[in-house]
Symmetry: D3
Subunit: 135 residues, 6 copies
């Protein structure tokens, strides 16, 4: 009897998309305005979903208060009010696209949950663009 | 050619999370503020989703007007403006966690649909916490 | 050059609407389901708005981080996960209607702001019902 | 390492649900108000989701700017501010139910993506009714 | 001690904007796609707001259950699933623009409330366009 | 017979809040995380509201398609995907706080409307923080 429980969170960050081994012209062509030199930014809205069995004693799949604290420690404190390109080591070598941020968040969170849980990350870069990753 | 159709609904209810066979201290430790003695409450927002084949004659997977009425009779009239712990027999022995409420709703609705349909319940306890159950 | 700044917050609480000096029948007639004996509840979504002059040094009308902390101390810690009828002294003698909760919040917050500010409270009892009060 | 990327769009259209080979009475019985003779309408909100591998060079599953343009050309210019029954050939013979509109959109878009992508259409007919189709 | 109470509702309708005393060319120039011959449509989302004194006995400015029923009778039953141009007499001689629909709703509702109340209509034609009217 | 019409728009930008004539310590104390050196960013959601008389011929207070284009030219093309501190001259000497951005937008738009219109700017910096300015 598997149930999925989800918790929303958010963080605000600056980023740009570009490759230093490409010309400005090619960066502009591939990434458009997202390659603008001085960065832009987003309110990232995050949904963390865990699928697992209900604990008969508590009626919980996972304590969402505990999940909230894990997200706070691993995602908000790490990414909130940061420049993803300059401040986050993970994005020194790869682009902080929404896809790659979702994978980063997944990898930081997955270590907290044993194998009986499935983890899924949904990340809204804007209210109109979002990505999902589940390992 | 399977399509999923979904209908939203809502109900407002009071509840608390606790076990009578645990001490107040243990209830507080496990359930936090959700164990507060005199109950708190939520606007539960519900999404009922049915997956099935399209009826060629009507273009419908299922008549959403009919689904609206089933939800009204089985969920809204049963749970709206109720105290889930005191007024709902199903929660005499198990906790009215969002997970268990979703399962209760699933079990009340599934009897209406033949085996060709898959049913999924999504239940928002708050705009930030939600659960999904599909049997 | 007056600007209005607003901050959202939320709390979850149980309540019912009734008068102990009225018969059950009259309570039912006037308050409908809201008079159900064992309480129901809501996710209250709150918007606190302050109108004032911009501080030329900071570009702020009011520090929204500071406002967030005031709301946390005066509203969330006071009302969140509570039974408004049983746990909140202010509602021993008056009904915890959305109107009266908004006035209570206004009165608790107004003491923090000098006369140069106008304060407005917007309180959503459900996503479909809300009230506004500005003193 | 598959990721799903999604883009939202919208269009406004008129439609009605009825079969010309049925009596008015039968249309009314099956489709209710949706069969009203002179049409009604909706703000359709659309989510187009693509699942695929991340391109290592760009960090993209698919360029959402490119996806936005495809949706504009194939969906918005085709359906926006139209009468689905009268103006859209696809609905001369089948009903413009939300289910059938979602399939139409899927079929118009799928030709743009090679087999390594999975496409999913989510279509809100109203904020309370929506359908999903993934081929 | 005035408080504003608001209730949301909705209806779905078809319309077009045009003047029969103008050429097709002029209608197209002034109203753009909104003049398309065969109509388009919207999910209109409505907020009805009443400002007045709190009744000391009930804690209500106005019973929102009663307001819900008035909106149902005067707005939903009149406009829902209708073609505003063809089915609504009020729009035989004036355009069913969002502005004019808001005024129509105001005029239908104002008769229910005595002079101690102020009425305001907010009407969303789409999630991105809305109008407000208060007499 | 005045009506208010509103149009939503959005732009994504990076910014930070700080004064170069203050020490890092003072900037941190006053602006908190918003002073982080390498910028952060937001999806700014904008509502532009115009109050005026209805044109009897069209039923419009103002053509929202025209308003959309003005917002695009004056706000989106000027601020979208920019670093407000580095790329926008207006913020060389004052902080790009939400308050100051709203005033900037007001000043860029007001020149388009004659004195019979009242203009109001609502700017969401995040879904939880927003400001309003009307001259």
């Amino acid at each position: 009897m598997k149930v999925t429980v989800s918790r929303k969170a958010h963080f605000n960050a600056a980023h740009k998309l570009f490759r230093s081994d490409w010309s400005d012209e090619k960066n502009k062509k591939v990434f458009g305005k997202c390659a603008n030199e001085n960065y832009h930014g987003h309110n990232y809205e995050l949904i963390v979903s865990l699928t697992g069995e209900i604990d008969k004693e508590t009626g919980y799949v996972y304590d969402l208060g505990k999940l909230k604290n894990i997200i706070k420690a691993e995602v908000e404190e790490y990414l909130d009010h940061k420049n993803l390109n300059l401040d986050i080591d993970d994005f020194k070598t790869i682009n902080p696209s929404a896809e790659n941020i979702a994978i980063l968040i997944y990898n930081r969170l997955i270590t907290y949950f044993d194998e009986s849980y499935d983890l899924k990350i949904t990340l809204y870069e804007t209210p109109r663009n979002f990505v999902e990753y589940s390992g």
